[in-house]
Structures are given as structure tokens and as C-alpha cells.
């Protein structure tokens, strides 16, 4: 693989581009459905934010945080999740590919399995959602009255990127379960969409072992909660030191490494379900 010439790499890129182009054309073929899809996908993220607003309609603060502070958490979460969902979220269709044997066809082609799967059905309709997530984050950052320092500006840029990498890793990690458990169905949703919901609120809202497991066992607290604390200049009510607000990139890198490893092991473990 290492000695592969640049010519073959160009050919490979061209193949990926062809896959992407074919996808774009086929998705735009049913034009009305595509437009409704675009609008509907914004709706999913809009309703996540609306839910937070509705809950703040009946309470002044949630887990010790005001609406403005919570919106920073929501913004980081929805921006990170929506972008990761656009780029890698498709991997959640892997169980179907494994069950129907389509994954065999993917493996025999002379291209990487993961990029192929992602490009085979890149959900362009989710573009609208990612844009909305970014808008929520920008609005939250502006309205939260943050005392901007160079460090916080850097964090405001790095934290959403780390969230994208983290959620992307979660998507890949949970999808690899289907290599072992073909009928895992919606199990992955518990961690992917569950993680999105979990990171949309300050972790002080949760309690007991459930918080320990999701926030620190799986690392979801470092996606939005701790960066938001650092941006807002608030001490963690749960007592973790201030530097945890800057741990997001490190946690994301660890998650990405784990996801890569799990994917490699999973693909090697894959046995076709047969014809």
C-alpha cells in the first residue's frame, strides 16, 4: 500500500468524487422530497432547541444553570452533533448493509470500506441541520455575555471541532457493534442520539451512576458541559478543576483512536451473512 503511486491516489480520489456526485444526483432526483427533507432535517435540531426553551418556560433554572448558560451547552452539542451526523452519521446504516450482504460488495472494491460507506449515501439533506446548529452556537456565544479572552476565543473554535470528532467517533464505534450483533437494531441510538440529548443539558441535571457512566465513563461531559463552563468562566458545581474545560480535544482524539481501532478489528471480524 505504501508504495502506491500518486497516479493511483488520484484515481482513487476520482472514484470517491464519482460516488459523491452520483449520490448528489440521485438525492436531487425526487426534488420535492429532497426539499422537504432539507426542511425536515432542520426541524429535528430546531425541536431539540425548542424542547430546551419549553422546559425553561416552566422553570427559571435547570441544574443550577440559567437559559443563557444552558444555550451555550446546547449550541456546542447541536453544532457538534449535526455536523458529525452530516459527515459520518450514515454509518448507522451499517447493520442493514451487514444483514443484506451489501457490505461484501463494499469490501471487494479497491477502495477503503469506511469512506465508501460514508459516501454511498452522504446525506446532503443534513446540511441544513449543521448550519442551524452552528447558528445556535453563535447566538448562544453572543448572548451569554462571555468575558472574551484569547484563550476563550480559541476554545470557542476548538470545542465545536472536538465535538464533531467525538460524535463522529461515537457513530463509528456504535456501528461496529453490528459486526458482532447483526440484529442490534436501534441499540446504537441509545449512545448516539442518547449522547446528543445528554450533552444538551448541564450534567448537574443528571444523577447517580447514570451521570458517572455517560459523563465520565463515556466522556460526554467533555463535549459541551466542561467547555461551556470554561467559556462562561464558571467553576464546576461538581468540583472538577477548571482545566477540564480544555480537555475536549484530548478526549476527542482518544475517542477517534478507539473508533479507528474498533473499526479495524470489526472489519477483520466481519463474516458475511451469506447469500
Amino acid at each position: 500500500m505504501a508504495e502506491r503511486g500518486s497516479a493511483s491516489r488520484v484515481a482513487e480520489l476520482r472514484a470517491y468524487r464519482a460516488l459523491l456526485g452520483a449520490q448528489a444526483r440521485s438525492q436531487a432526483a425526487y426534488r420535492t422530497s429532497f426539499v422537504v427533507d432539507l426542511v425536515g432535517n432542520v426541524g429535528a435540531t430546531v425541536f431539540d432547541v425548542v424542547t430546551v426553551l419549553v422546559i425553561f418556560g416552566v422553570t427559571r433554572e435547570l441544574g443550577g444553570f440559567t437559559l443563557r448558560e444552558t444555550l451555550v451547552v446546547v449550541g456546542l452539542s447541536s453544532c457538534g452533533f449535526a455536523t458529525a451526523d452530516l459527515l459520518v452519521g450514515n454509518i448507522e446504516r451499517l447493520p442493514r448493509y451487514v444483514r443484506t450482504g451489501l457490505f461484501d460488495a463494499v469490501l471487494v472494491r479497491p477502495l477503503g470500506a469506511l469512506p465508501q460507506l460514508l459516501l454511498m449515501d452522504l446525506p446532503l439533506r443534513k446540511l441544513s441541520r449543521a448550519v442551524f446548529g452552528l447558528a445556535v452556537l453563535l447566538f448562544a456565544l453572543v448572548s451569554a455575555g462571555i468575558d472574551w479572552t484569547p484563550g476563550r476565543v480559541a476554545l470557542a473554535v476548538v470545542a465545536p471541532l472536538a465535538a464533531v470528532v467525538f460524535f463522529g467517533s461515537v457513530f463509528v464505534l456504535t456501528a461496529t457493534v453490528s459486526f458482532y450483533w447483526v440484529d442490534s437494531g436501534e441499540l446504537a441510538n441509545a449512545v448516539t442520539y442518547g449522547g446528543r440529548d445528554f450533552t444538551s443539558y448541564p450534567v448537574t441535571v443528571y444523577g447517580g451512576w447514570f451521570r458517572a457512566l455517560f459523563a465520565y465513563g463515556m466522556g460526554f461531559a467533555f463535549v459541551s458541559y466542561h467547555p461551556a463552563l470554561a467559556l462562561l468562566g464558571r467553576a464546576d458545581p461538581l468540583g472538577l478543576p477548571p482545566w477540564t474545560g480544555w480537555a475536549a480535544p484530548g478526549v476527542a482524539v482518544v475517542a477517534a483512536a478507539l473508533a479507528t481501532l474498533a473499526w479495524r478489528v470489526g472489519v477483520r471480524h466481519y463474516r458475511s451473512t451469506g447469500s
Binding site: T32, S33, F47, L187, G194
Partner: protein, 283 residues
């Protein structure tokens, strides 16, 4: 030559007993079919459990120190969430595209040749599926929830039978909505658009993301009485946690029954219209 379709009345007088026997047989087949997806049921249960914890903690935090919000106390919120996670699978709010897929592929032609009206046979299958789900998906969250949260146990003896009736009606109302969404495939072929609108609208308006009581009073009242959405989730849950007096519960279940009848009639009408324009490709 007159056309023969499933919705044209059969030539001989229909008898009630064979009709019930057919309906029962189809429902039993639906039960058995879904009982074979045991691993998927377990996976679904895990997901319901995670979301049970998430929503429960969030709503309890919304109740805050006061301990009540929108007419629910902490125990009622916990029951609302955990029973809701179970009921979600019983009504099968999302992911049903069987009819739309069969319309797109043309397989629906086989459904039209059967001597049972398609709405009836799909409803029977769905009730069978719901029967299995109420054992495999509704009971576990109701058992798990109380281990981690203080839950509300109904005080009035009539609440439980009323809840069961309300849940049954919720299945029918939800089926009616899903059938209509799927039936748009007769006109659109690709139902992703209507499907995503349904997925979004139903989640919010049915009371899944938050109890509709969190909304301003007039808005909740409009949703309750003028749209079918609360009838598929919020109403049975409100009945179960006795949020309002029994008389209000009875009224709401009555509204549910009205929606069930109306939606099934609408399904038949849409089906009839669709059959007139359906062209199945191929020989």
C-alpha cells in the same frame, strides 16, 4: 367490465363471525411475526431505558425544588416518562414504512387482490404487533423505572382499565396516522419527506419530548382537542398518572375514540381514491 378491488363490497353478504375470525388470524400472525425479532426487542429496550433515564432526570430537574410542574409531581413525572418509553414501542410511532415500500415496489397489488380490505388487514397486523410489544416493550420499562425513581401508582381502581383502553385507542390512532403518511406513496412514490415531517411532528406534539402541559394552557388545549397527536401518547399517560380528575380522563379517551373512527374512515377514503389512480408496473 366493472373493476374488482378490495374496497368494492364483496358480492355475497358479509357475516360478522368469519370477519372476526379473519381479523383474529391476521392479528395473531402479526404477533408471531414480531415475536421472532427478539434481539431487536432487546436492543430497543436498552435504548428506551437510556432515554427513560435522560428524560426522567431532565423533567425532574425542571420540577426543581418546588417538586411540581404543570400539574405533575415528581412521582407522576417519573411514571409519565417510563410508561411513555414503553408505550412508544407499543404504538410504533416511528419507522413503519411497510405500506409505502409495497406501494413503491408494486407489491401492494397483492394486498388489493385479497378478500380483506387493506386498511382492515394492516390494522389487524398492527394490533398483533402491538400485542407483542405491550408484553415485550411496555412491561420492562414499567419494571425498571421504579428501581431508580420514585414512581406514581394509580389511586383509583378504574384508572388501569381506562389506561388499557386508552393505550389500545392510541395504537389505532397512531396506526391511522401512519397509514395516511404511508399512503402518500400512491401519489409521491418517495415518502421520505412526509415521513420525516411525521417523525418530527409526532414526537413533539404527542408529548414525547416534553409533557404538553409544559406549553401555555391554551396551546395545550388546542393540541388536545383539535389534533390527533396527543391521543397517541400523552392521553394514555395522563390517564395513567391521574393528572386530572376521572371525568376529564373519560372525556379525553372519548376524544381519542373519535379520532380513531375519523382516521380509519379517512384511511379507507384515501385508499379508495388511491386505487383509482394506482398503476402497477409490469405484467
Amino acid at each position: 367490465m366493472g373493476s374488482v378491488t378490495a374496497t368494492v363490497a364483496p358480492p355475497t353478504g358479509a357475516h360478522v363471525t368469519p370477519w372476526f375470525r379473519t381479523f383474529g388470524a391476521i392479528a395473531a400472525a402479526g404477533f408471531r411475526r414480531h415475536a421472532t425479532y427478539r434481539q431487536a426487542a432487546v436492543a430497543g429496550l436498552c435504548t428506551n431505558t437510556v432515554f427513560g433515564f435522560l428524560r426522567c432526570y431532565i423533567f425532574l430537574a425542571a420540577a426543581g425544588a418546588a417538586g411540581t410542574v404543570a400539574g405533575y409531581d415528581r412521582a407522576q413525572l417519573a411514571t409519565f416518562v417510563w410508561a411513555g418509553q414503553g408505550l412508544l414501542a407499543v404504538i410504533a410511532i416511528w419507522g413503519w414504512t411497510d405500506l409505502a415500500d409495497r406501494i413503491r415496489t408494486g407489491e401492494v397489488a397483492a394486498d388489493l387482490l385479497r378478500p380483506v380490505h387493506p386498511v382492515t388487514s394492516y390494522l389487524a397486523t398492527d394490533l398483533g404487533r402491538a400485542g407483542f410489544a405491550s408484553l415485550a416493550r411496555l412491561v420492562p420499562p414499567l419494571v425498571v423505572g421504579p428501581f431508580f425513581f420514585a414512581v406514581y401508582v394509580p389511586r383509583h381502581w378504574a384508572t388501569v382499565p381506562l389506561f388499557l383502553l386508552s393505550a389500545l385507542l392510541a395504537v389505532v390512532v397512531c396506526f391511522g396516522c401512519r397509514y395516511l403518511v404511508n399512503a402518500t406513496a400512491y401519489w409521491l412514490q418517495d415518502v421520505r419527506g412526509p415521513m420525516i415531517l411525521w417523525t418530527l411532528g409526532s414526537g413533539v406534539l404527542a408529548g414525547l419530548y416534553f409533557p404538553l402541559g409544559f406549553l401555555p394552557g391554551p396551546l395545550e388545549a388546542v393540541l388536545r382537542y383539535a389534533t390527533p397527536f396527543p391521543s397517541i401518547l400523552q392521553v394514555p399517560l395522563d390517564v395513567l398518572v391521574e393528572r386530572e380528575p376521572m371525568s376529564t380522563g373519560l372525556t379525553l379517551v372519548g376524544v381519542q375514540a373519535g379520532w380513531a373512527v375519523l382516521l380509519l374512515a379517512l384511511c379507507r377514503l384515501v385508499q379508495r381514491r388511491a386505487e383509482r389512480r394506482l398503476v402497477v408496473q409490469g405484467g
